[in-house]
Homo-oligomer: 313 residues x 2
């Protein structure tokens, strides 16, 4: 499967869209907001550039990306104002695969800019936001244009390398133990696999079709992250935090399993649909949601998130 052409979060703003089913990712970003804004302030204070370049690798199509940009701009604006230093201009590079729904982000921009103008009585900061479509495993941006790179839950989708190439905050799913099989993120994959098996046993999916379905996903351990950064050589690890996203009450009163199923669907649908056709989606994710609830009733599943701060050497 050509991931670059097929894989994308569910676009738009409908019931199964990523925009409506990314509150888990939002909570992850919120929990590491102190690291994100802290790291940007560090690089801003040490270099005080007139123009600050910020990239979000894997921005997807919901509000999450613009929320982070807003946090960063406000933090830098506040700090430069305290220091009686002019606010820099912000060059923001939003990246995702060419199949991502950039249109939804762009439609939200007039309101986003307006928020800053209103707060600042019409004289908001200069923010220039561009969409850059392509895989971040290739070159996307001009030389020496970035001070800060942010990437939230986007590194797992190609198994080639862990680290790409100023300062970076990477948020990624990980695992606690050295063992590759635990009751964390990989267990969600195990349950998805069991849901497919149930569809096979019901005759709704052919076994051969399932056997030929290949998706790469990798949730590294803390040691593996440190090893990869060392091997790559361009960065030092400033900090690694392990976080667990708290479960919160679902806004629509759905079960935890259903909420997880909708989240996973918003991420995986494009690839599953490409290989199996859209006919199986509703059934598959109903089974999946039920399995997650059944397993949670027996024993907790603890998906781990790492927040990593890297500094270019």
């Amino acid at each position: 499967m050509d991931v670059e052409k097929v894989f994308h979060m569910n676009g738009g703003i409908g019931v199964t869209s990523y925009a409506e089913n990314s509150s888990l990712q939002k909570r992850g970003s919120d929990m590491v907001k102190h690291l994100t804004t802290g790291t940007v302030l560090e690089i801003f204070l040490s270099t005080t550039p007139k123009s600050l370049g910020i990239a979000d690798l894997g921005c997807s199509s919901g509000h999450n990306s613009l929320t982070i940009i807003k946090d960063i701009v406000e933090a830098v604006q506040g700090t430069s104002s305290n220091m009686l230093h002019p606010t820099p201009e912000f060059r923001v590079y939003l990246n995702d695969l060419p199949t991502n729904d950039f249109n939804s982000i762009f439609k939200a921009l007039p309101e986003f800019y307006k928020g800053f103008e209103v707060e600042k009585n019409g004289g908001g900061p200069s923010i220039f936001i561009g969409g850059y479509a392509g895989s971040f495993y290739r070159r996307l941006f001009p030389n020496n244009c970035l001070h800060f790179v942010y990437s939230s839950y986007s590194l797992h989708w190609l198994s080639r390398e862990l680290v790409v190439g100023g300062r970076m905050v990477l948020i990624l799913l990980g695992r606690e133990s050295q063992d590759h099989v635990d009751r964390g993120n990989s267990f969600f994959w195990e349950l998805l696999s069991r849901s497919f098996a149930e569809l096979v046993s019901k005759g709704e999916v052919e076994k051969e079709k399932l056997d030929s379905y290949e998706v790469h996903f990798y949730a590294p351990s803390k040691n593996e992250i440190e090893d990869e950064v060392r091997k790559e050589g361009s960065f030092n690890v400033d900090r690694i935090e392990m976080i667990e996203i708290e479960r919160d009450h679902d806004k629509d009163g759905r079960s935890y399993g259903t909420a997880i199923a909708m989240t996973v669907r918003a991420i995986q649908e494009s690839m599953i649909c490409h290989h199996f056709g859209e006919g199986i989606l509703d059934n598959l994710f109903e089974i999946y949601g039920r399995m997650v609830d059944e397993e949670m009733a027996e024993e907790e599943i603890r998906p781990i998130t790492f927040a990593v701060v890297l500094r270019k050497v």
Copy 2:
């Protein structure tokens, strides 16, 4: 009407899409290709930057924009190779309103990049293409990042100013005479107005509804362009060429009137739909296409296009 929120070319790749109904605009760009590439080469040769910044203001969603970028990159690449000078990196800024269908452009990028890699045995030029959503009557890009600005058939949609603010090639609809009413572009508006009147007389549109429909369009004369550039003060006019787009045989054997109607529909539909609802579209543009054919049978309509090359003073 909030043009910035409502106005956009018809997205996607369907029968009524801009992508499928912009061959007139394509012919316009093709006819001034020598001016476009010539002007870029001039600025490249006089400054030989390592990184060349190019913006297309009003890029819309079809192939036209990427075709022009390809022409420019090939011209610069060829010239730098002849001079044994390294090819610069290309920073390309594609701009249109936030409602534009950027997704279609982004989906075409992998093929676009691949074209260069294949031609160059895998070592193509560095081209970084970003989508920037917003009105070009406000600031969109960082300071001092552009060497060349291109804008094709996009300046007429706000009547405020003619000239925005290196080197610019502007392609715009104009008029031959000093008189505002001639059998050129304004006559196409006259016919659209008559088509609406026919819907009113048939009771399909309320007269009040039509009276409250306000759209700004301006096709300047050569003198007016020169006056505005002089008044604005930042640019000299290097050259103005008046061109007439040749009619060519319609690929689907449609009449000229029908082809014009589809072109105008791909541009105007978003605004008409917003004000009148989509129910009138098919009828309106059928009447319009018929009127254009009837008028052309009586006497030629000669829509004029100007290509203007401006140089920053």
